[in-house]
């Protein structure tokens, strides 16, 4: 009983999101039981959601500090392009396994470097994250374009496609990776010392620094983590497309912001949970896939997604105002007595 009380008071936002998710899921199932609930569709969602979810976590960690990372998708594309060069090289054609390992290492290395660039300028120089990542977004995109001459790179070893398309015991590999990342992110962000510092920096950087925390290091790690998450997403994307190109996944940038905000993370920093983001990602995914199956025009789905973002935030504001008013009235009544 206590558990439920705790759930209601401390995690009311996640609870609401979970109810919305279930509601939409049920609604879609009723509207289109044969298509939406088909094994095929569930599987498709399981293949698509992880890359979006990873991008959303990459965005969330930056937003938690009161920043933002506009470069997640172009950084990811750059990582996968470098990876693709190794994968499509002659060496990899001859040494499949080693080639893939080297490719993955290179991909993550580039992702970390992207994170270090962002993190260094944000933390050590002190430029607003919005501007830094606006610049680095263009920079990474430009490097990707320069490397690929605007085209795409393909011709990967067969085995590489497993990462984005394969299953283990019938469970899609991307969803396994996603679940592992969710657990790790939860532990790191909500249960570790570093994670607590992230929230504190997001609320008040000065007071955190004055408490003897090396906030520059904290922030640098945030952008590295953000880079790593988007790097992982880029592996899934390049594997699924079996190629790499600068504009793959570019729509995830704005979608990630949507999911993060929808998930209850405050855009000014300091508040938000991994669970909220994950649930919001699932909601957006179910809506878009579900409506798609129902034959709704893709553009209408976009309109609905944008509408949900604004309506949910407006509702949150209205309920907060009503709550405050109720409290004031209660107190006034109490003092009158």
């Amino acid at each position: 009983m206590n558990f439920f009380k705790n759930l209601r008071s401390k995690h009311s936002n996640e609870l609401t999101l979970a109810i919305i998710f279930i509601g939409i899921f049920v609604l879609m199932s009723i509207l289109s039981p044969d298509k939406f609930l088909s094994g095929n569709n569930i599987k498709t969602m399981m293949f698509q959601m992880p890359e979006f979810g990873l991008m959303a976590i990459a965005m969330m960690i930056a937003v938690l500090t009161g920043g933002i990372n506009l470069s997640i998708t172009t950084g990811a594309a750059l990582s996968s392009i470098v990876c693709a060069f190794i994968l499509s090289s002659e060496f990899s054609q001859n040494n499949n396994a080693l080639g893939i390992v080297l490719g993955l290492i290179a991909c993550m290395a580039v992702a970390v470097i992207c994170g270090v660039i962002n993190g260094y300028v944000v933390a050590y120089i002190g430029v607003a994250a919005m501007l830094v990542t606006l610049g680095s977004k263009t920079l990474f995109e430009g490097l990707g374009l320069a490397f690929t001459k605007g085209g795409s790179i393909s011709g990967f070893p067969e085995a590489y496609s497993f990462l984005g398309n394969g299953s283990v015991l019938g469970i899609p590999f991307p969803i396994i990776l996603y679940i592992v990342v969710i657990i790790v992110s939860y532990l790191l962000i909500e249960r570790s010392a570093w994670g607590t510092e992230v929230y504190m920096v997001g609320c008040n950087e000065i007071a955190t620094r004055f408490s003897g925390i090396n906030t520059k290091k904290t922030l640098l790690k945030v952008y590295i983590y953000s880079g790593v998450m988007s790097g992982l997403a880029s592996i899934l994307i390049s594997s699924r497309y079996n190629s790499a190109k600068t504009d793959y996944g570019s729509s995830y940038m704005m979608q990630a912001v949507t999911a993060v905000v929808l998930g209850g993370t405050s855009i000014s920093g300091g508040h938000g949970t991994v669970a909220g983001t994950v649930l919001a990602v699932a909601i957006v995914q179910v809506i878009s896939t579900g409506l798609n199956i129902l034959g709704v025009n893709r553009y209408i789905i976009n309109i609905i997604t944008g509408g949900i973002l604004i309506v949910v935030l407006a509702l949150r504001y209205i309920t907060k105002v009503m709550e405050d008013n109720r409290k004031i009235k209660e107190r006034a009544a109490a003092t009158a007595k």
């Binding site: 249960r191 010392a193 607590t196 008040n204 000065i206 007071a207 004055f210 003897g212 925390i213 300091g270």
Partner: protein, 496 residues
């Protein structure tokens, strides 16, 4: 006697949970300086908010301006009726010019879609002349010194044709010379027949500028007296409601080894050639006027504002501290003056605030925070310092000033720092909590912590320190053992 500009009576203000003002009265005559005095929480700021039109009093309040009963409906209405406030933070726009800041109310008042800059500039020049301030009206406000910004704020009130100006804690950020200039400005305003409501709790200036005092205590009206009829002691006992006894803790013996030694510490434009030794178990009080470089020096030792030259030794070893995290590693703690912005992460819990510097201590085998041990030690600190309410999940912003300060203290005590620097520890803290905080500081010292207390309040310095350093113009101007000392002896070193 001249006709009163303003007379209020029966003014009450109820907030959810508290009655901030209970049936108070106040009146003021043109050309008079009438001080409103009282401790924190006496209701001074609530009355200012009502007179500025920012808040409405409870029903039944009577407000008479120039003989006519009236209401103050909003900020613009109060200004129209001749009442302007110069807030403690001035409420200026740092990114705009002096002229625009002075003219802004008129710009809005006239509501002309197109502005006439020439007119605005001329008005500003005139208002600055009345105040007697030599400031270029085209200068951007954030490039001005604090004192000049205050002059701009006053000029802005003058430009609104104010007949009464409320000065809210006007000297809190001014240096000695600047305070003198402010006195001149007040004299100028008096000559122009402007009434001034002066809100402060600093005895010296209260007696210097005021014609009359009205005293509030706990939201209630106590008395109104002529300045020349009372002494400082009388005023204090009216404010506090009882004789305040200052307990002296000074203990000139039992000093341990040197914990902190500072040699020739200097930073251009901040402080120069600072030398002192601080022993374990000792409390040094550092005082001096605001702007003497006390906080700058402390922040240099703590690594926020690293020095240009000089040496710092901790436990005999030379250290080079460039950031607070390095200071923490050397066992130095610093409690900043601004609790709300620098001391606490207000939207987070007591628990997260107290354990912030020592999070790593609670890591379990796999590197995560062990919530049980964390909670246990937070409970211990909360109990020990008697933080109320004693709920570690309470947000820091929900606490009173005194309890907030206890949380900050707990945060640093939990680091087991050997050297503790406290900057204005009882700023905005009520009398009861003040005594508790002094006790905590002395208890820490008796357990071997070396403590520096920076404070402008001489009674506090005299109560809590063993030794006293006086700073003036960035240098140490005097050093005393806390024995048979008087406030005058200290002041004589602080002011020249």
């Amino acid at each position: 006697m001249k006709e009163k500009f303003l007379e209020i009576s029966n003014v009450s203000k109820t907030f959810p949970g508290v009655k901030a003002l209970d049936n108070v009265k106040f009146d003021i005559v043109p050309g008079e300086v009438h001080a409103l005095v009282g401790e924190n929480g006496a209701g001074k700021s609530t009355l200012i908010k009502i007179l500025s039109g920012f808040q409405q009093p409870d029903l039944g309040a009577k407000i008479v301006i120039e003989g006519k009963e009236t209401k103050l409906n909003g900020v613009m209405d109060a200004i129209r009726q001749g009442i302007s406030v110069v807030y403690q933070d001035f409420s200026l726009f740092g990114n705009l010019t002096v002229a625009e800041n002075i003219g802004i109310n008129e710009i809005i008042e006239k509501n002309r879609p197109v502005l006439k800059w020439k007119e605005i500039n001329e008005k500003a020049v005139k208002a600055l002349a009345i105040v007697g301030a030599e400031i270029d009206p085209k200068e951007i406000v954030e490039n001005l010194s604090v004192a000049k910004q205050q002059m701009v704020a006053i000029a802005s009130a003058v430009a609104q044709d104010a007949k009464m100006i409320i000065l809210d804690e006007p000297t809190s950020a001014l240096s000695r010379n600047e305070v003198e200039t402010l006195y001149d400005i007040i004299d100028n305003l008096k000559k122009k027949n402007i009434a001034i409501m002066f809100v402060s709790h600093k005895m010296e200036e209260l007696f210097h500028v005021s014609d009359r005092f009205t005293i509030f205590r706990d939201g209630q009206y106590v008395d109104t007296v002529n300045a020349k009829d009372v002494t400082e002691d009388d005023l204090v006992s009216m404010m506090v409601g009882r004789k305040v006894e200052i307990k002296s803790y000074a203990n000139l013996e039992n000093k341990g080894p040197v914990a902190l030694k500072v040699e020739g510490l200097s930073k251009k434009g901040n402080f120069k050639d600072i030398n002192f030794e601080l022993h374990e178990g000792e409390v040094i009080g550092i005082t001096g006027l605001v702007g003497a470089g006390r906080s700058e020096m402390a922040q240099a030792i703590f690594g926020i504002n690293p020095p240009d030259a000089g040496k710092v030794y901790v436990q005999g070893k030379e250290v080079h501290i460039k950031s607070p995290s390095q200071a923490l590693q050397h066992g130095i703690a610093y409690i900043p003056e601004s609790r709300q912005t620098q001391g606490l992460v207000l939207p987070k819990t007591i628990e997260s605030n107290i354990t912030l510097p020592v999070l790593k201590k609670y890591r379990n085998k796999i590197g995560l925070i062990d919530r049980k041990t964390q909670r246990a030690s937070v409970d211990k600190w909360v109990d020990m310092l008697d933080v109320r309410p004693n709920d570690p999940d309470m947000l820091a912003m929900q606490l009173s000033g005194g309890n907030q300060q206890k949380v900050v203290l707990a945060k640093w005590i939990s680091t087991e720092a050997k050297i503790l620097i406290v900057d204005e520890p009882t700023n905005g803290v009520d009398v009861g909590a003040k005594a508790e905080i002094h006790q905590i500081i002395r208890k820490l010292a008796s357990e071997g912590t070396a403590v520096i207390v920076i404070s402008s309040e001489l009674p506090e310095i005299l109560s809590v320190s063993d030794r006293i350093l006086v700073m003036r113009k960035g240098r140490i101007a005097g050093e005393f053992l806390n024995k048979d000392l008087t406030q005058e002896m200290i002041m004589s070193k602080a002011v020249v």
